[in-house]
Structure formats: structure tokens, C-alpha cells
């Protein structure tokens, strides 16, 4: 069972559609503790990504993920652009030159992307950021695959772990990003970055699970 170039593009397209559907929701979450632009910024970025992927003849998984990352970096702005851009660019690195990748390679690349986000944002678990959804998800994929689960099961567990991580951000006091200026007032609100990261993992589970 391998993940092909088209499968990865399918995941990105599915996430773009999810962002479109959740644009107002993400912005509403952001208006409570940030600057009310997460939904519209991500939407603008992924619209550009979808346009870029349209009619592409590329079949290198790594190169395509890097293109996704670079497009996000140049179109999203704010903090979300560099963070999501880094996620995809770093994920593309180890997959460069491959038209299809094994579940283990996919998981390792995702982990490399998440490490990139951590290095870029200098945040830790429980700082109330994207990482609260991403780090548990990466752990879930790796441990599932290591104990013999297939990609479908591993991604399902990753999405579940990301959902739990996202929900756990609600009572947290933000330590990074604009929400940190609110101090204690940031508690009681679900983090918009963790929410979009959960949606990214959920889209992976929904689309890549169909990979035969």
C-alpha cells in the first residue's frame, strides 16, 4: 500500500474545500482571541494552492508539497503563512524524487513537517497553538504503524488524537502568538490554529484512507 502523487493532491484539494466550508468558523474562533483573519487568510492561501495544482504535470510528491508550502508562504501572510508553509515545505523535503511513498515514509515526512513548525514557531505542547493538534497526531500515526496498523487505521487514530488535542486547547492560557497578549482572558476559547490543524489531519484520514 503506497500513497501516490494524485492521492497527496487529493488530500490538499480536500483540505482546501474544508477550509472554504469552515472559513467563517475559523475566523470566528480567531476573532475571540486573535485578529479575526485565520479563516480568510487560509482560504486565500489554499485557493492559490488549488489554482497552482490545476493541470500540473508534476508527479514528484516532495516537489508538489514544497510548491504547496511556498504558495502558502507567499499568499497567506500573518503567522499562519510561515507556519503552514513550513509544514508542507519540510514535509516535502524527505519525499523529493518520489512519485509514491510508503505509509512509513509519509508518517516520517509529516513528522519532519511538524518539527519544522515547532522550530519556526518556537512553541511547545500546551502553548495553545497548532502543535497541540499536530504533535499528538504525529505520535499516533507513528505508534500505530509501528504496532502493525495499516495507513487507514493510523490516520484515523491521528485524526482522533488531533481532535482531542484541539479540544484540550480551550481551557489553556496562550503562551505564543497574538492570543498571548490576552493572558488569562485567552482561556475558554478553542485555538483557531489547532482547529485548522485538526481539519488537515481529518482531511488526510478521509481521503488517504481510501488509498488501496
Amino acid at each position: 500500500m503506497t500513497v501516490g502523487h494524485d492521492d497527496v493532491v487529493g488530500w490538499i484539494r480536500a483540505f482546501a474545500a474544508v477550509v472554504e466550508d469552515n472559513r467563517a468558523y475559523l475566523t470566528k474562533l480567531d476573532s475571540a482571541i486573535g485578529d479575526a483573519d485565520h479563516g480568510s487568510n487560509l482560504h486565500r492561501g489554499f485557493q492559490a494552492v488549488v489554482a497552482k495544482l490545476e493541470g500540473t504535470e508534476e508527479n514528484d510528491v516532495g516537489k508538489t508539497l514544497k510548491t504547496v508550502g511556498m504558495t502558502l508562504v507567499s499568499k497567506v501572510g500573518g503567522a499562519g503563512g510561515p507556519l503552514y508553509g513550513t509544514l508542507f515545505m519540510q514535509m516535502g523535503g524527505p519525499l523529493t524524487g518520489k512519485a509514491e511513498v510508503t505509509p512509513q515514509e509519509f508518517a516520517a515526512a509529516l513528522e519532519s513537517g511538524v518539527k519544522g513548525v515547532q522550530a519556526r514557531g518556537k512553541a511547545e505542547l500546551e502553548d495553545k497553538t497548532m502543535l497541540d493538534a499536530l504533535l499528538p497526531a504525529v505520535d499516533a500515526i507513528s505508534s500505530s504503524l509501528a504496532t502493525g496498523a495499516n495507513l487507514q487505521e493510523a490516520l484515523e487514530r491521528a485524526a482522533e488524537a488531533a481532535a482531542k488535542g484541539m479540544e484540550a486547547t480551550t481551557p489553556m492560557v496562550a503562551k505564543k502568538g497574538r492570543a498571548s497578549y490576552l493572558g488569562e482572558r485567552s482561556a475558554g476559547h478553542q485555538d483557531p490554529g489547532a482547529t485548522s490543524s485538526y481539519l488537515l489531519l481529518k482531511a488526510a484520514s478521509d481521503t488517504l484512507s481510501k488509498v488501496a
Binding site: 497567506v76 501572510g77 503563512g81 507556519l83 519556526r120 497578549y181
Partner: protein, 333 residues
Amino acid sequence: MKKLINNPDDVVTDALRGIAAAHGGALEVAIDPHYITRADAPVQGKVALVSGGGSGHEPMHGGFVGMGMLDAACPGEVFTSPTPDQMLEATKAVDGGAGVLHIVKNYTGDILNFEMAADLAREEDIEVEAVVIDDDVAVQDSLYTAGRRGVGTTVLAEKICGAAAEERRSLKEVADLCRRVNDGGKSMGMALTSCVVPSAGEPTFELGDDEMEIGIGIHGEPGRERVALEPAAQVVERLAAPILEDLSLSGGDSVLAFVNGMGGTPLIELYIVYSELVKLLGGRDIAIERNLIGPYITSLEMAGCSITLLKLDDELTSLWDAPVNTPGLRWGA
């Protein structure tokens, strides 16, 4: 919303076209991606200074591009950080072989985008250093937050470091100087009215006719407290006291006093503020060696002001006095 614009989506591009038309001989304006450079860039052998940030703070940063100040500026959308591709193109355009200093205001988006741009530039063998300006004493400094915001000291750092770069000082020297200006400069602002971001169409916050916000950020971020309107003398006391405390200024010290308009406040009021500041500092035996008064780091049409004090020594004073020739600041040239 009442604004002199064509379309909210085109505000930044339309303004850049105006800047290009007005200052064509001195500046070059790139539209895709957006950045402004000195027309004579790259200046060989000189450290190049690049800054940038969201638009809506004019004349900062584009109005400070020119001899003796910035080599390039990257304007983002209104109140939104520019992106690394803009910063990379600007950095490449102005690198004269002596390295490039990125002057970054402390906002998470600006920091991350400038970091990525610096990484990309280094991959292209351009030497880049970044200095973060975080001078807003309204925000409590803490390891557990994104820290203090970058405000008024940015203007002073760009002028002083621009002069040092013209003297052909090295990248490390200019960067160290920039950190020294950041350490010695502190600011605090206040607002009488909100601003309206064109794409939002509504005031960023609500403020009653008889209220003011003390400690406001340059994007309308909430400050320390909302209080009833007071005479200028008391307002100056509220702004200057935390700065004096933070800088631990004492009798005999010299400062540069910068009274900045937020965009909607007329000069006549800024001079009243300055007059009160002179009285207050005079009472503490602190000498104002230099001053800057006017709208230099604005917040769209917000009414209000900020005060920045920079502790001066002979070196900083002489770099401040050095010639500068930009649309926003010009003397000696």
C-alpha cells in the same frame, strides 16, 4: 466607512502607484510582489537596511526609504505582515555585498515571515542579520507572551542605523547599534478614536465620546486602561511616567523626545503634548537634546499620539544629525 479609496482590496497597490508617481526619481516601486527600494540600490559596499510590516502606518516604512535611512521597505496588506517572497526580493535588490539588516517590529507574523525570508536569502549566499524592535512599555514584558510590541522606536532605529550604514560600518556594528537603540528607546501611545481597516469597513474598537484608551497599540490593540478624557498635561504624565520608570532615566540624562501623531491628530495638538512633555522632563532635570514631532508611525485615521524617549549619547546624537533624504524625513541633504 468614509474613505478616499477606490476599492478596499486595492488600497495598498493604489497607494504604491501614487508613491511611484510622486517619488519616481528617488524610489523604485515594485508591484508584484510589493516592495520599495532606493533608486540607486544596491549601494556597493554598504550594509543595506530592509524593513517592512503591515500598511496603514505611513509614512513608515516606505516613506523612510532613501539616503541615510532604509534601502528597502516591504508593505503588507493593511495591518497584515508582508510575506517572505517580498522580503527576499527586496533583500536581493538592495544587497550591495556588505550584508543586509532586517529591522523587524515585534509581532508574531512579522517575526516569522522575516525569519523565513532571512533563511531563503542565506540560501542565496546573502548575509542577513535581523534585529527585533520591542519598545512598547504598555505591554508587560514576559517570557510567557509574545513580548512587547514594536512601535515608535522603530522610526528612530531606522534613522540612526541608516546613518551608520552610510558611514560604511559593518553588518555586525549596525546590528549591534540597532539593538542598543532598541534597548534605550521606549514608547507608549494613547487613542481618542478608533481606526477603520478598509477591508473591515467598521471601527476596530468602540470608544465613547468622553473616553480615551491609554497604552493603545498601532493596530488598535487594547491598552492598559480605558479612562475618562483628561487635559493634555495629565495624558502626557500617564504616557511618560511608565517610560521614565522603564528606562530608569535620572537627572542629567539627555534624550531624544519623539511625539508621534496616530494619523487623525493635528500638529497643533501634538505641539501641546510636546510642551507638556518639556515641562515634565524639565522638572526632572532631563534634557531634551533632540526632538521629532509629527505623524511618522500612524494607525490609519486614529486620533491620538504616542511618546517615545530615546536615551542619547554623543554617538547616537551625531548619527541622528547625519544627513537623511527620504520622502518622510529629510535634513542636511
